[in-house]
Amino acid sequence: MIDDLLRATVRDLADESGTPHGLAARALADGHRIRRNRRTATVAAALAAVLAVTVPIVIARTPADETRPLPAATVTVAPAPAFKQTEVFTGPGGVPLLSIEDRTKTFVLNPKTGGYRELPAGVVWIEPSPDGRRAVVGRENSEKVEILDLRTGESWRTAVTRTSNVSWSGDGSRVLVSHETGYSIIEPARRRSTDRTIEPGQLACLEFCEFTWFAGDTRIALPQVSKLGEQESRVSGVATFEANSGTVIEQLPIKALPIDQFSASPDGRLLLTRQNQSPEQISMIEIASQREIAHFSVAWSQFLADGTVLAQNGGILTRYAATGAVLEKVALPPELTGRHLTFGL
């Protein structure tokens, strides 16, 4: 009797639950923050140990590089510049800090005032355009890609469903969103989006096709995968497509995944790649020769407009030359340490 009553009561109670909306997007945002914070903490500890013995973190990998001298002197870490919420914070290379995220709050650079303003609590993630004019924002209960004009505050909810990371073109004019059968390109200024379906034969992807912008903002790249068995696969190359038409341009013999954003040098000569299982291990590859120029262990990295690479490793921002040599290191101010930061180009 009591068993039956309890079972019926517990099930009645459970049946009262409603259908959740937007849970995937919210959980993804929180999950990303957990990973970022965990990674930042881990990398910070590792970096502290490395700095203690002043060992450069750039490692030449290929036999051809063994004779290449590393930078003559270890670059010392410059003290952290002051951070004021009312002023633009610039990182190495003079690039502006566009957004600051922590577990509960998101701040974004206001291009009109030059200060950082907090976004409403409903915004669970943000991806600012590299020019700082707009941002893709994710809100609770919405899985559509939404564009926020950071100057006017106007937002535009597109018809494009976010099923993967979004990435801005280098000039900040377009957003790339991958789908199972192709990709969408959103043009915020024209409030227009275009869907492209790729021939199935060109979609030898990992479990999901992950398009990224390539150099020059007219091309996109897609890693090509070979199956090694039921559970295992490897990247066998990177296909590039003409972004507007979806036409294949060429197959690059790169056997690693381009990083999510700004992976290619502006001249298209170099590519920042990662391994599927070790996203913190970044290799700078010379595309023509497939030679690994340098290897970084960093939380994130990106090419800047001048062809140098900006990376964060714990509480240190480092700028690398296209040779992998360290150009400068700057400590982050306490207000920015442990946060997820997005810089412009």
Binding site: V10, G31, R35
Partner: protein, 172 residues
């Protein structure tokens, strides 16, 4: 974390979120709190998605139960709803002679401590054995049995209409 993992995770959430929220609702009695609980568990699962082998659902469910039992809270969210009055009957309620008793029992269930309620949800909603319940909650079977016995004792105090059956049934 790769985009493929992200797509796989999203597909998992779309498919399994209603079932997970259903369990969380039975644990919390409140939709928002239930969704927050599931969201937190999913986020933790996502952070180590590539290391979860096999079906991720048992892993996520385990986090849900343990977060709830360990006093999980999220700042800025509404506290658990403690009802002073019986809720309005929803469509799921059957209008039979047990309805009033079950509504009273429902309120009593929601007043139980989290660990006791988790034991009853695992036993009666998920039909887990004592041993399986102990495994999910990370405790000994004896602890499950004692928590179940305390829960039944408390329910009998709160709902005198319940029969005088002993707690033996729930301890089987």
């Amino acid at each position: 974390m790769t985009l493929s993992n992200e797509a796989e995770f999203t597909a998992f959430v779309v498919d399994r979120a209603p079932a997970l929220v259903r369990v969380a609702y039975a644990l919390t009695g409140d939709q928002q709190t239930a969704e927050d609980l599931v969201q937190s568990a999913l986020a933790k699962a996502y952070a180590r998605w590539s290391r979860i082998s096999g079906d991720p659902e048992p892993y996520v469910r385990r986090i849900i139960y343990n977060d709830r039992v360990s006093g999980w809270r999220r700042q800025g969210r509404r506290p658990e709803l403690l009802m002073a009055e019986l809720p309005e009957a929803g469509p799921a309620y059957r209008h039979d002679q047990d309805t009033a008793l079950r509504l009273t029992l429902r309120q009593a269930l929601l007043s139980l401590p989290p660990r006791q309620r988790a034991v009853l949800v695992l036993r009666y909603l998920e039909d887990r054995s004592v041993e399986q319940t102990a495994e999910v909650l990370g405790c000994r079977p004896g602890t499950v049995a004692s928590q179940a016995a305390r829960a039944l004792k408390k329910l009998r105090e709160l709902v005198p209409e319940l029969d005088d059956a002993t707690a033996v049934e729930v301890l089987r």
